[in-house]
């Protein structure tokens, strides 16, 4: 009788362990799924930022803003002096 009870206890323990392991695995799967989605979202955001960076740092854009917002321009011919000419 004791042996039967011990056997049943063993089986129940095994089943309990199996259930705990399966639940843990399921939680891990949810966690991985969440992290993968987060990674995908971050990758997408990174690409958007790269695009924005390229748009803002394009030479044409910098030149346009330097002229329009800072009033900059290229020096005119008479504003350039050549000194120390030697052959």
């Amino acid at each position: 009788m004791r042996a039967v009870l011990f056997g049943l206890l063993l089986i129940l323990s095994g089943l309990l362990l199996l259930t705990v392991v399966r639940i843990k695995a399921l939680h891990l799967k949810y966690e991985i799924s969440g992290l993968q989605q987060e990674k995908g979202e971050l990758m997408r955001r990174k690409k958007e930022l790269e695009l924005e960076l390229a748009l803002l740092t394009s030479p044409a854009e910098i030149e346009r803003r330097a002229k329009a917002e800072l009033g900059m321009r290229y020096p005119r011919a008479h504003e350039v002096i050549v000194i120390g000419v030697e052959r």
């Binding site: 949810y30 799924s33 993968q36 997408r44 390229a54 394009s58 044409a60 350039v80 000419v85």
Partner: protein, 560 residues
């Protein structure tokens, strides 16, 4: 008791029959139903690698954007839906109503909608209208290098330029996958994506800043010269790396369909031009190499008119006696014709081939080989006209490669535009390295030739390319265009060109400038050389090249 026993037995039998029905007869049907409940089909959209310049600046990137679609039979009030959608999407209501009235189960309303449009449509809450995320290609530098980059179609496939040539590397196709889901329909753990190989990012040899300088100056020069088209190439003469490549007028690849298809063509590799006088240095170089002429040998230039069979070769000015060096300096056609005669057809052809004319460069994008007929078909007229660059056609890139031979001390380089490919998944790299090519001229011949080309810029036809403080070598060119309708060379249509080497001591770049059908002046020295100067002036500042013995200050005392 017996009755109860029979009842239990009957119940058990009923259970058995039901179990048999479920487990055996309807097994497949229920298995399918269970699978549908446990698993979901998920489509991972096609991916496309980025295209970057040599410094890692992103020139082309794909992002997921919403595409709006309709399930027509679910849309109840089609007229109202069409009216509401047309206000948001700026499309005629009749066009949308036509789509909504179709018998199909699925119709696109607008592919690649903007996030604002998507939000507004979502707020409308029209039943039967929904969106999926689709990849869309963005080109942040807009027109910059667009004929080289090319573009992709609405289904993300490469249609032109590098996008097409490297499509199999850049593109990873859409993948449909089966994934586990829970009772609430949430996906449980995204599986690892299958190894489809790609996509790969492309890292080019191009430099966005150099490209911008080239395009800005080229466009300015094209407008000033009232030219039909303009082409420019900048190449590193030692490695063959293409630093910039422009073909104007170009297009914005973000909305390529709004431009005529002829603008999509990369004229640097696909445009064929008769080189004209920019070919003369190769003739003179070959003749010096073969010992046919010496630098200071004197040739009689016939006072400006030289009869060869039925044709008369003319010079712009009536020259009498010119040294070989002066033939280049003043770009004498008659002098070049005489050197070509002395050279002979077979020898001259062999050199032209060695410089890379009449053969593909292997740059990795669609290109023309040019036309250089074999010498057995040449007449004397063909030989002398080839002496000054008429009677053959080449691409601007072939010219850049040929001048690189002179600039690097005599070796032909193999040009390339893709510096490296990096696999997105694991960072695996496939790099391109400079491939040493065939020696064409000796170092000594190149040194002499470079000095001659320096004089072309300092004192000859290329004066407008000279840059204060920096030694520059180069050659001007003006070629007549062949008119196939009239069957002869046109007297109105010309190609003006200039090829420069910057600086001529320890060169950093070979720059090819070609203007197609300029109106203000037809001469390369007048319209193409100043473009080179503008480019060179900015490049020396960008690269920080040291000046030679001079200092330029701004009027207020700051150095430039």
């Amino acid at each position: 008791m017996i009755l109860m026993g029979v009842g239990v037995l009957a119940l058990l039998c009923l259970f058995e029959v039901r179990a048999f029905y479920l487990q055996t007869l309807s097994r497949d049907r229920f298995l399918q139903r269970a699978k549908r409940q446990y698993y979901a089909r998920v489509v991972i959209p096609s991916k496309r690698g980025r295209i970057m310049d040599r410094e890692g600046r992103v020139m082309a990137v794909s992002l997921l954007v919403p595409s709006l679609y309709a399930v027509p039979f679910e849309v109840t009030d089609k007229g109202r839906a069409a009216r509401l959608l047309s206000e948001v999407l700026q499309v005629s209501p009749s066009a949308i109503e036509g789509k909504l009235s179709s018998n199909r189960h699925f119709v696109w309303i607008k592919r690649h909608a903007s996030p604002q449009e998507f939000e507004k449509v979502r707020e409308l809450g029209i039943r039967g209208i929904d969106a999926v995320k689709e990849p869309k290609r963005f080109y942040p530098y807009r027109e910059l290098a667009s004929p080289l980059l090319g573009f992709v179609g609405v289904d993300h496939q490469g249609l032109e330029g590098l996008e097409r040539a490297y499509d199999k590397w850049l593109r990873a196709p859409a993948v449909e996958m089966v994934m586990e889901r829970d009772a609430l329909g949430r996906l449980i753990s995204l599986p690892l994506e299958p190894d489809t190989g790609g996509p790969w990012d492309l890292r080019l040899t191009l430099d966005v800043r150099v490209q911008y300088i080239l395009e800005k100056e080229l466009e300015r020069g094209m407008i000033e010269a009232q030219a039909k088209r303009a082409v420019g190439v900048i190449i590193d003469p030692f490695t063959g790396e293409i630093l910039a490549m422009a073909s104007l007028p170009s297009f914005n690849p973000n909305c390529f369909s709004q431009y005529p298809p002829e603008r999509w063509k990369n004229l640097c590799t696909m445009g064929l031009f008769e080189p004209g006088s920019v070919l003369k240095p190769f003739l003179i170089g070959a003749a010096l190499q073969e010992g046919i002429v010496g630098r200071n040998d004197v040739l009689f230039c016939e006072g400006g008119r030289y009869h060869v069979g039925p044709v008369t070769v003319r010079d712009v000015k009536a020259y009498e006696w010119l040294t070989v060096e002066e033939i280049l300096q003043f770009s004498s056609n008659i002098g070049a014709a005489k050197v070509a005669r002395a050279m002979g057809a077979y020898r001259y052809y062999r050199y032209l081939r060695a410089f890379g004319f009449g053969r593909a460069t292997g740059v990795g994008v669609p290109e023309e080989e040019g036309i250089l007929r074999p010498p057995r078909n040449w007449t004397l007229v063909d030989l002398v006209t080839l002496g000054f660059g008429q009677g053959m056609v080449c691409t601007p890139l072939q010219l850049a490669v040929a001048y690189s031979v002179i600039a690097n001390g005599g070796v032909r380089v193999n040009p390339y535009v893709v510096k490296e490919m990096v696999r997105v998944r694991d960072g695996k790299r496939r790099a391109s390295f400079p491939q040493p090519g065939q020696r064409v001229l000796s170092r000594e011949t190149c040194r002499v030739l470079m000095e001659m080309l320096e004089r072309v810029v300092a004192e000859g036809t290329g004066k407008k390319a000279s840059l204060e403080g920096y030694p520059v070598a180069g050659k001007t060119g003006t070629s007549q265009k062949y008119d196939p309708e009239e069957g002869r060379y046109s007297r109105e249509r010309f190609v003006a060109s200039f090829v420069g080497i910057l600086p001529s001591r320890r060169p950093r770049a070979v720059v090819v400038i070609m203007l197609d059908e300029p109106k203000r002046s037809i001469y390369g020295g007048e319209v193409a050389a100043p473009i080179f100067k503008g480019i060179a002036r900015e490049l020396v500042q960008y690269w920080g090249l040291p000046r030679r013995g001079k200092m330029t200050l701004l009027a207020d005392g700051r150095s430039l």
